[in-house]
């Protein structure tokens, strides 16, 4: 029995060893699996980290909302430009300037209907239908040229008291009439109004050659009706006895420029030129103007001397001053010119024209205008024409910045002389200017 018990104990011991070996193997396997798991976990973490980095990088290259807005804005503008180009050009050919870097073309159409009620009658009609073409060409920053050509059909208000068909003979003032240019088809003439070239050395020194607006005063320099409150120029700029107080246009050379003094501007013009009726006779002239920008005030002084007309051979010396106030709702123009004539009496013309801008579309104005044309100062000239005075009120309406409609009423008064009685004429005018 004892031998049998010892054998059983030995068998149990053997089983225990076997179990321990199996347990040890199992532990080794678990440890190996655990290491494998750790390796896998590491790989997983690495993958996760890489994915996050990639996502971050991806977010960086995606556009922000601001970038998108700018991009859309640019695309929109480019599309608009392409559309506009296509709309303007279509399938047609482009117009090219021969050599100009820049070529601008514009112009305006000007129309007027006028009714005149005089002492001995009345007249009315569409007395002005003008088209003027404006072209500017720049060769570079220094060289430029400007041209204005007209297709003009117009008849100014005149008087033909003796009904001989000739307007504005000395003293005529009672029987109003218009005279459309005769001798040309349809009464239309095509004058060269402006044609100059300009060399700009800098802002202070320019040289201009050609036919140009005579640089005196305010309204003569503005000249074109697109910005004028009234189509009728002041009395001293309208032809009287064939001549204005100074030529509206001259042909020759001009040196001009401007200096900037803080916010103010000092500008000058000097010229040697000739009037249309006296090509061989020079006129020397100058203008100096100072603009007080903060106050909206520009003061100018003007002087000239020369010969207006070869036929009359009359030399003259001109002195003048002008004052422009352009501030807020106020637009006030004032000019005065006086001449000393060789062989004739001196002339004097002035006006004051205050205007009020009610808003961007409506402007009201008044003008007091006076002209002594010099023909009545001598007792040796009995048939003097007398002085003329005008009171004008007007209203401008601009439905668009480029369209101007005007209604003006004028009372013109002729002073009495030793030969002619005084006379009045009432003028009502509706006019439009369409510029482009």
């Amino acid at each position: 029995m004892c031998l049998g018990g010892a054998g059983a104990q030995a068998e149990e011991t053997l089983d225990m060893h076997a179990l321990q070996e199996q347990l040890q193997k199992a532990m080794q396997m678990i440890e190996a699996q655990s290491q494998h798991m750790n390796t896998l976990q590491g790989e997983l973490n690495a993958l996760k980290s890489e994915t996050t980095t990639q996502a971050t990088e991806l977010s960086k290259i995606q556009p922000s909302a601001a970038d998108t807005t700018h991009l859309e804005e640019r695309v929109f503008e480019l599309e608009e430009q392409i559309f506009e180009l296509d709309d303007r050009v279509g399938s047609e050919t482009l117009a090219n300037a021969f050599d100009a870097n820049n070529l601008d073309i514009g112009g305006f159409i000007n129309t007027a209907f006028t009714h005149v009620d005089g002492e001995d009658g009345s007249a009315f009609g569409w007395n002005r239908q003008n088209f003027e073409l404006l072209i500017r060409a720049d060769l570079n920053e220094q060289w430029s040229a400007f041209f204005a050509g007209g297709f003009l059909r117009e008849g100014n208000v005149g008087f033909d008291d003796d009904n001989d068909g000739v307007l504005n003979e000395s003293g005529e003032r009672r029987n109003p009439d218009f005279a459309i240019e005769s001798g040309v088809p349809g009464g239309t003439r095509n004058p060269q109004i402006i044609a100059w070239t300009n060399y700009k050395h800098n802002d202070a020194f320019n040289v201009k050659l050609g036919r140009m607006i005579t640089p005196h005063g305010i309204i003569n320099i503005e000249h074109f009706p697109a910005t004028l409150l009234d189509q009728e120029q002041p009395l001293f700029l309208r032809p009287f006895g064939g001549q204005t107080i100074f030529p509206n246009f001259t042909t020759g050379g001009q040196v001009h420029g401007q200096f900037f003094v803080g916010g103010d501007t000092l500008s000058y013009n000097t010229y040697i030129a000739s009037a249309q009726g006296a090509i061989e006779e020079p006129i020397y002239g100058a203008r100096l103007a100072y603009e007080f920008r903060d106050k909206g005030v520009t003061v100018g002084v003007n002087a000239a001397t020369g010969t207006r007309s070869e036929a009359l051979d009359n030399e003259y010396t001109l002195l003048g001053a002008d004052l422009l106030i352009d501030k807020g709702s106020i637009l006030w123009k004032n000019e005065i010119f006086s001449t000393d004539e060789d062989g004739a009496s001196g002339r004097l013309g002035f006006y004051t024209q205050p205007a009020y801008r009610f808003n961007d579309q409506w402007i009201g104005f008044y003008r007091y205008d006076f002209l002594d044309d010099g023909s009545n100062a001598s007792a040796a000239v009995p048939d003097n024409a007398g002085d003329v005075t005008e009171h004008m009120v007007g209203l401008n309406y601009l439905p668009l910045p480029n369209v101007r409609l005007r209604l003006t009423g004028t009372r013109r008064h002729y002073d009495s002389t030793s030969v002619f009685d005084e006379a009045d004429a009432d003028i009502l005018q509706f006019s439009t200017t369409y510029s482009f």
Binding site: R136, E141, I336
Partner: protein, 153 residues
Amino acid sequence: MQIINFKRILSLAFFSALISSPFLVNTTSAQADEYAIIVNADSQITADDNELRNIYLKKQTKWSSGVEAIPFGRATHSPEQNAFLINVLGMNQAELDSYWASAKSKSGLTGPREVQSVSILLRQVRRKEGAFGVISSSDASDIPEGVKVLKSF
């Protein structure tokens, strides 16, 4: 003759009175800095409002530094353009329209090129040394290299 002399005296007195008119007072407008004038970063431009005004209106064609000026406008009636007109030019749109209508008739000059897009304006200013334009302050906070703010208003 006496009448003429009287009118001469009257006219001279009138002009003298106008020159000393007391109602011509300065007006200014004040606003927070909502807009900025930008210029090329390489330029030596140090302009004040008077110079900006003269250049935009093409009275002055070079900056005081000597660089050829290239003004750019913004779209008509845009907030940037309106602010520029009021605060720098001291004009409203109607006055500006009238100014250019007169300039076209007198010499054929036309207004500056209008640029609607901020990014196109920025590119133009970066490329052209004498260029300038106006942008809103929010756009100015993120301007690219090559462009700098000359002044804010």
